[in-house]
């Protein structure tokens, strides 16, 4: 433990570099997952049979199997089908697809909590179904989802650690390099752990701020009731 400050000072350039990659993977995965998750959740709630089936299949597949298996299938498996992706693309794809499946469930929960009335009210003033989804349902669903959804960025940030196995130079990979170079795994991995914790702390703080920033007077009570 006492080695941590020393390690942080000695290896800060590569640790910072690794943390940067970790953060980038998190942001990219989260963004891709949010888009994918929203489409999936909307498809499942409002879509016809085909959309619902696709949405359920996707969620089951990616929540039902380990992220590492998905990553290896994409990186090592896809070339067998003639699709070869770079490490970075494979990592992005695996994290995005995996996160999307989880985010779909958070968002679906909040869409269901909004209830049918808002859709009816939107249609009643002449909005199309899609217009009501875009203007009425999604803005409310996103806000309602935040408290539960806030788990996902934190969880994803830590999940990115597995991509060191396909040699993407993120934080965990740097830790491994440092451990090998210094023969001090405790110092190396403790340093990495401290940095992860720090990033989660900042992320949590940011999410709380976001929740407060987008809150609507009187609306959060509804969320608690629902």
């Amino acid at each position: 433990m006492s080695d941590v400050p020393e390690f942080l000072i000695r290896f800060w350039p590569i640790l910072l570099q690794g943390a940067g990659v970790t953060l980038l993977l998190t942001v990219q995965g989260l963004a891709a997952g949010l888009v994918l998750g929203m489409i999936t959740a909307l498809g499942r709630v409002y879509g016809g049979k085909t959309w619902r089936g696709l949405a359920i299949g996707y969620v089951e597949l990616f929540r039902g199997t380990p992220l590492l298996v998905q990553l290896f299938l994409i990186y090592y498996g896809l070339p067998g089908l003639g699709i070869t992706l770079s490490r970075e693309w494979s990592a992005f794809l695996a994290l995005g697809l995996n996160s999307g499946a989880y985010q779909a469930e958070y968002l679906r929960g909040s869409i269901l909590a909004i209830g049918n009335g808002q859709m009816m009210a939107g249609r009643a003033i002449g909005m199309s179904k899609w217009q009501t989804i875009r203007e009425i349902i999604v803005p409310q669903a996103l806000r309602l989802a935040i408290p539960a959804w806030a788990n996902e960025p934190v969880s994803l940030l830590k999940s990115t650690a597995v991509v060191f196995l396909i040699a993407v130079p993120e934080l965990m990979a740097q830790g491994k390099i440092i451990a090998a170079r210094t023969y001090n795994p405790i110092g190396a991995y403790m340093s990495v752990a401290v940095i992860y914790m720090f990033m989660v702390f900042v992320l949590d703080y940011g999410l709380k701020f976001l929740e407060r920033y987008v809150r609507i007077p009187g609306f959060e009570m509804e969320a608690r009731k629902a």
Binding site: Q118, R123, A124, I125, G126, M127, E222
Partner: protein, 254 residues
């Protein structure tokens, strides 16, 4: 009289095994205020929802300004722009201010230029006496205010007909008056209105015609005085007797 604005012909609605209403025909003329009364579970609310196509009917036809809106090629969204709807539980858009609730239909559906839409939204809010609550969110408004914003939201679309689905049933007694007041004014301004309500005072004083529905069909309809004092059917008499007694008692208490 000229031809009806809204015309229902032989409407039937069935949920599974349950016949909600059967073979209902109703003509709504320009400027008329029609109040539909009847015991709960009689299909009144479902009938209203069918009238603006929120709930599909199983058979029959509905005409708006002479055009069949239940035709397969009718544009539902266009039709609903011309039929305003006010809901029992208000259903305001929770993430929008009172002003934006009224404005959104103008800017997103009617694609009105911003300045013009703002002016119109303020005008409608003013009409229901809520211009000072424009920037309040639904969570900050009372039930009566919520419903008045709901009315303003529907009015903003300049509908040919307004449908009211038990607009005061979810309100505390002391808030009912402000909503009924707005509706009475609309009626006096010759807005065409179809109102489902249990407010017999409103029915008697404001309606041009009262329709009594029971068990999924129209039992009797006519001018308020005829229905209240000279009902043709025993069931109408019983229902009105029961509900006026109840209503009268409530009035005495308050």
């Amino acid at each position: 009289m000229d031809s009806p604005i809204l015309q229902a012909k032989n409407l039937t609605k069935i949920y599974g095994q349950n016949v909600i209403f059967q073979d209902i025909s109703l003509d709504v003329y320009r400027g008329e205020t029609i109040v539909i009364i009847g015991p709960s579970g009689t299909g009144k609310s479902t009938l209203l929802r069918c009238m603006n196509l929120l709930t599909p009917i199983d058979s029959g036809k509905i005409f708006l300004n002479g055009k069949e809106i239940t035709a397969r090629d009718a544009n539902e969204d266009k039709v609903r722009q011309q039929i305003g709807m006010v809901f029992q539980n208000f259903l305001l858009f929770n993430h929008l201010t009172a002003f934006d609730n009224v404005m959104i239909g103008l800017s997103k559906v009617k694609k009105m230029p911003k300045a013009q839409a703002r002016e119109k939204a303020l005008y409608e809010l003013n009409r229901v006496g809520l211009s000072d609550r424009a920037d309040h969110y639904p969570g900050q408004l009372s039930g009566g205010q919520l419903q008045r914003v709901g009315i303003a939201r529907a009015l903003a679309m300049d509908p040919s007909v307004m449908l009211f689905d038990e607009p005061t049933s979810a309100l505390d007694p002391e808030l009912i008056g402000e909503v009924l007041g707005v509706m009475e004014t609309l009626s006096r301004e010759h807005m065409t209105m179809l109102v489902v309500t249990h407010e017999m005072g409103f029915a008697r004083e404001v309606a041009n015609r009262i329709v009594f529905m029971e068990k999924g069909s129209i039992v009797e309809q006519g001018a308020p005085d005829d229905l209240f004092y000279r009902p043709q059917h025993e069931r109408t008499r019983e229902f009105l007797w029961k509900i006026t007694e109840l209503y009268g008692k409530k009035e005495e208490k308050s």
